[in-house]
């Protein structure tokens, strides 16, 4: 009797085991950042297609607002329940890769035997300490949207060829029309310096008080004094809403932004859109184009090794040429694969093309040299940045001597950089 029972139980367990193996469904949970509700149909379709093609895979899409995603992710990793894939920006990925929270994906970027099609610039953005930490998804590059009427009134008909020229044009616009010409994001002066080929640090020390830095800030101060800059939120961490509002209201000559914002003008202010022209942003001495703010899908630490090949396959599907092209055309962003970028959608400017289509074409031409500019590897960097912005603000607005203000900020940086690492 006991033997029979043992046999029965063994068969039962075996059958469960077989059943488990034969009909195992692998769940892949992937997180995105602030893509709901606009992209619900796109992702639902994408999930349905993938699940149909891969019956052994069950996909779960979770979307978090951008400001809580990082906390949610770290909590999930700490709890041992990370998502299989997560949508991140480059600075976040760098920070998390530094903390050992992401898996390198160099060997997974392409299917076995194939070569990957991501642009060199996108992969360079995601390469930290020699390893790539994500599958590039979409990026952006800035273009100059200009108000034809305002620029014509100022006698400007040509694209600026350098930052100096852009600042000169801003002053001309102000003098001729009484309106500000340009609204740089001086709250992100660190990126501004870097794009102009000026280092913030060298050999672990802050060096942004050099004569070259002072000269650039002096140029900004002169432009500010002449009324060339839009003063609303000029030094805020995010001056974009103020810039868009001013441009939409016809109160600003030039708006430097990604093509996505041009779409918004088309919707919110058709009359301004009708008189909007597009110039490329002049690359700085570095040759790097402004505004490459790339998003990608990374594999967090804690994802089971045996699951990684399937997760990578799905990541490649998410970021494939076809899907990137579909997403980019819907969102007004730029794809990060060579094939999608070469698509006629980005290349062809029809005779009756509006500013939005022109912006995409101009941006596509700049994409190969678009990089995310940020300072990496420094603890408490945001705090240091605040002191840099404070110094630049004091100098630009004429409240302090520029050299003095920058010297003081450099001293604060160096004191902090050489100090004891905080817990």
């Amino acid at each position: 009797m006991v033997t029979k029972l043992r046999v029965f139980l063994s068969v039962l367990l075996l059958s469960f085991g077989l059943h488990d193996n034969a009909f195992a469904v692998q769940k892949i949970e992937f997180w995105t950042m602030s893509l709901k509700p606009k992209f619900i149909p796109y992702f639902q379709e994408l999930v349905k297609n993938y699940e149909t093609q891969h019956p052994g895979i069950k996909l779960e899409w979770v979307d978090f607002p951008w400001d809580i995603l990082q906390l949610k992710l770290i909590t999930a990793i700490a709890a041992g329940t990370p998502p299989a894939l997560v949508n991140l920006s480059v600075p976040w990925a760098e920070e998390m890769a530094r903390d050992g929270l992401l898996e390198p994906v160099d060997a997974l970027l392409a299917a076995p035997g194939a070569t990957n099609d991501y642009t060199d610039a996108a992969l360079a953005d995601l390469r930290f300490n020699g390893k790539v930490y994500g599958f590039p998804h979409y990026s952006n590059v800035n273009v100059i949207a200009y108000n034809r009427k305002i620029l014509a009134a100022a006698g400007i008909f040509q694209a600026p060829r350098s930052m100096d020229e852009l600042l000169t044009q801003a002053v001309m616009i102000s003098l001729k029309t009484g309106k500000p010409g340009y609204a740089p994001a001086l709250g992100k002066i660190d990126g501004f310096f870097m794009q102009q080929g000026l280092d913030l640090m060298r050999d672990g020390k802050a060096v942004f008080n050099s004569p070259a830095h002072v000269t650039l800030v002096k140029k900004l101060a002169a432009t500010y004094k002449a009324g060339g800059f839009l003063k609303d939120k000029l030094f805020a961490e995010d001056n974009f809403p103020a810039v868009v509002d001013a441009y939409l209201g016809g109160r600003l000559g030039v708006m430097v932004s990604a093509p996505t914002a041009i779409k918004r003008i088309q919707t919110d202010a058709p009359e301004i859109y009708a008189q909007t022209g597009i110039f490329p942003v002049p690359p700085g001495p570095t040759g790097i184009n402004d505004g490459g703010w790339m998003f990608h899908f990374a594999i967090p630490k804690g994802v089971k090794k045996k699951d990684i090949p399937e997760v990578a396959a799905f990541a490649r599907y998410l970021t494939s040429d076809t899907n990137q092209l579909a997403f980019a055309s819907m969102a007004g962003v730029m794809p990060t694969t060579k094939q999608a970028l070469a698509n006629s959608y980005f290349k062809k400017i029809l005779p009756n093309a509006g500013a939005s289509e022109q912006a995409l074409a101009v941006a596509a031409n700049s994409m190969n040299s678009a990089r995310s500019l940020y300072v990496s590897g420094i603890d408490d960097y945001d705090e240091l940045r605040r002191f840099l912005v404070k110094a630049v603000e004091a100098g630009v607005t004429g409240r302090r001597d520029i050299q003095e203000a920058l010297d003081e900020a450099v001293a604060i940086w160096n004191r902090k950089l050489q100090g004891v690492k905080l817990p």
């Binding site: 945001d382 002191f387 100090g419």
Partner: protein, 297 residues
Amino acid sequence: MSMPGSLSASNKRRNLLAYAFLAPALLLLLMFSFWPVMYGSYLSFTDFSLIREVHWVGFANYRALFANDMFLTGLKNSLLFLLVVPFTQLGAISLAVLVNNQLPGIRWFRAAYYVPVVTTVSVVGIMWGFMFHDQGTLNYVLLQLHIIAAPLGWLSDDALALFAVMFVSFWRGLGWYMVMYLAALQSLPSEMQEAAILDGANRWQRFWRITVPMLKPTILVCSIMSVLAALKAYQEVDVLTQGGPMNATFTALYYAYDQGLKHLKLPRGLAASFVVSLCCMAIAFVCLRWLKPGHRE
């Protein structure tokens, strides 16, 4: 016969019943107030991280905090923010006295003064953002009245921004404290006022010699609440300036939020919060000591 000082059975039962009624609220307070405060205080002495082993670091976070330029800037601004307290209290008492009179339409005024209290901070931020804008209502009015020659950067000038934010805090708090003072005024016995009138005291004398001394307990409570609100100033800063311009409105609690929740440096954020709490307690203690009824200098 029961021993002196001992509780009778019925008293014990009554006490138990009282504790039983208090228990749910106490339990909630323990779970959501006392425990987080105690645990948070403990974590401020560690290098807590979600992804690393936690170590006890003693006062390292606090030492780092007081060597941190950003936190010291925040603390200085938070202490400056205390300037709003006397103005708020004086304004609230004046308003309460004003609306305590039986004038036509006084109910409407009482409601109007209370509106800012129930308005959400985000709406307040948008509204005052328009008012304080370089080309906003306030500059327009002042220019039209020839009070200023050029627009002032209420939120973009580091010399003015903190005061602009303080004004918004003052404006929001005024109605709240007014209601408290009004309730206190209406509960004052009228006999003393009548006796003073018979003695020939004028309005001013009656206000300073009778009303204000009798309002002292309310002034004490409101002042402490106002001090705590000023030291914990965060919402107005967040919606109006995000700590700018040039860190002029960056307060200690904004630093705590910035470090703890934005950059996930929880121990440092908690240490900053703990320092703010200590400041609150110290100032509340001073208020209690100096404003307590019966205090003699």
